[in-house]
Symmetry: C2
Subunit: 156 residues, 2 copies
């Protein structure tokens, strides 16, 4: 059985919080978030193909990628404010379908006993409408898919 | 009489919105936000000295500066997600006194009739506590001071 993903989007505030544990060491989970060849094996919904133009996880670095699902292409980009190995990534996030609506995300990596890892994500949207729209877009199944695919990658 | 600065920080949401008009063209107001030699003449409270380590307003660029007030030094840094000349800047913001508490700010520059400009700023904090702390820190007088200094620079 896979680990549960907890997604919290409280009413009336523009936050989404995600907590997920992994049966793998923090170094492996972090690496899967920074190496493009690994990222494209798990990030996003099953069945989507991910092409990466740039993925430079460093303070001042940035990323740009496209998720392709049949005829549909979804492009994303952002910059990294903080990248602290095996600890913390803080980045901006923009879906080019909603230009100039830019959120900020932090991902905290925490080593647990038994070589396991807890990942805590927090996304903050520029408006309540943008947060609510993201929740309504079906992001939950995309996140669940992605972390199950990450489980498979980490086990492989 | 100087133009009024409107600062809005609604209860229970992590936003600060600032609106300010300037008696100067949008090109001049934008330039004062991107050229380090101009920025350090107005950004921050009166009586503070600003030293700039880096100020590169471009998508993927970043900034780092210090405000010095007598024996006290306050260091800030961030990265730019978007920089669209005379239109829009979106950047992250971190005060190193509260490490890893990173907000995201957008500044919209709008040309008005008569060669005037409206600047609309929106800051989004990662927690309600961080937003409330920023409001309680006396940021309002710093913002008012800064924009009055900017008026003087634009008139000079």
């Amino acid at each position: 059985m896979s680990n549960a993903t907890t997604i919290s989007a409280p009413a009336g505030v523009p936050f989404i919080e995600i907590t997920r544990e992994f049966d793998a060491p923090v170094e492996a989970v972090y690496r899967a978030h920074v190496e493009p060849d690994l990222i494209k094996q798990w990030l996003g919904p099953r069945g989507y193909e991910m092409t990466i133009d740039r993925y430079d996880v460093s303070s001042g670095g940035g990323y740009a990628y496209t998720h392709v699902n049949g005829d549909e292409a979804y492009r994303f980009r952002g910059v990294f404010h903080t990248a602290r190995e095996n600890e913390l990534i803080i980045q901006t996030f923009e879906f080019e379908g909603f230009p100039d609506t830019v959120s900020i995300e932090s991902m905290t990596f925490e080593a647990l006993e038994g070589g396991r890892t807890r990942l805590t994500g927090r996304s903050v949207y520029p408006t309540q409408e943008a947060r609510d729209g993201m929740v309504d877009s079906g992001m939950e199944s995309g996140v669940n898919d992605g972390y199950e695919r990450l489980d498979e990658l980490l086990a492989g």
